[in-house]
Symmetry: C2
Subunit: 228 residues, 2 copies
């Protein structure tokens, strides 16, 4: 259920997942493939991307997932999810500026550090990973979303519905509508508009709190927005 009529048409679009061999990217790729979308897995190594794509096709019972190196993934996809580790985020995006020009880019990266007391938010010069992406990709339509989705739950297809909402941030209304539709495409999830890109830091950093929740309650916590 989405409270706004969101009539974005996703069929025919190819979603690229940079860092698609990592747990978060792989999990979202699996769910999108299962939902009938075409997915391109991107990785530093084309070979590993192709291997991951084969595994995802088998798991989802489809043949619509393919693997590429990150540059080819960015060039061929219509919409691109950035799901790489924070360390390396800036360098990768700088190298793909041309391939990502004109495209909707979804940043789901959480800049976190860990010490003996657990996770904490790292300071980011641009304010957030998403704002760094926007600064490095001036010709792309940068959004931020999918920060809090549990990779463990995504990977387990025995869990038919993912019980969480996805806050979608961005300054381009049409782009955030498309990204909300990508969240709505996964059973159980809802894409909820969550504000402008300048308010992305706290959404990224909140992942540290959800990790604290997971440790205390032995859970895979997600968030639902009430009254929407």
């Amino acid at each position: 259920m989405t409270s706004e009529g969101n009539t974005v048409e996703l069929s025919g679009l190819t979603v690229g997942v940079l860092g698609g061999t990592g747990p978060q990217g792989r999990g979202l790729a699996l769910r999108w493939a299962k939902a009938g979308l075409r997915v391109l897995i991107g990785s530093r190594s084309a070979e590993r991307a192709v291997d991951a794509a084969g595994e995802l096709n088998a798991a989802a019972g489809v043949d619509t997932v393919a693997g590429r190196d990150n540059a080819a993934c960015a060039a061929e996809a219509d919409i691109v999810l950035i799901a790489v580790p924070w360390d390396g985020h800036g360098d990768l995006l700088t190298s793909l500026r041309e391939q990502l020009a004109g495209k909707i880019v979804i940043d789901c990266v959480n800049p976190l550090g860990f010490d003996k007391q657990g996770p904490f938010a790292l300071p980011v010069e641009e304010g957030s990973a998403a704002q760094q992406a926007a600064a490095l990709l001036p010709e792309s339509r940068v959004t931020a979303a999918f920060h809090h989705v549990s990779a463990v739950l995504l990977a387990d297809l025995a869990i038919a519905e993912i019980d969480t909402d996805v806050l979608v941030l961005g300054d381009d209304r049409e782009a955030t509508d498309v990204v909300r539709a990508l969240a709505d495409a996964i059973p159980g999830m809802r894409g909820i508009y969550g504000g402008r890109l300048r308010n992305a830091h706290q959404v990224e950093a909140l992942t540290a709190n959800l990790i604290a929740v997971n440790r205390r309650y032995k859970a895979h916590a997600g968030l639902r927005v009430t009254d929407v």
Copy 2:
């Protein structure tokens, strides 16, 4: 429903609400009074505090709410909620260090700015309002909670249950357990441990995102933590 057994006994405790004539403090005071707790409203003006207390007693059908100036409220209460505007937060706490010594303090203040593009998080030298409170009140047991609760919903007793979870942050386990119990005391709410105080900034700042949600969806958004 709380997934942990939280057997904290609240009866006999008096909750002080500094800034209790403002919408957030007043709303929580109303719900706590309704739940059978003794509440002290604090305000710069004792007279306005007494007036507000009278209104809350009438609304809740109790006689357990009283009004004091902020200093007397802090001195008499067992647990103290800080619900003052961010502007003035530091000065007030500095002036009440002695009265608040040894007590559980709950900071619910959201340091936000507003411009033409809407709300945004203000930078705080100490990291967050809660960390500022901890720095200014070294002898208090500072926690952070109740940042996202809608004052509009709290004020409307026709709404029997408040559909939201409350993230409770702090470094003192016993203190966060008491604050969680204060959330659990309000029908519909659950107090969920949400991490250490150093992770308070993003919880405070997330209020900017919830305001964006409220504007887009014409809602009074709250948050539920799933899988807990």
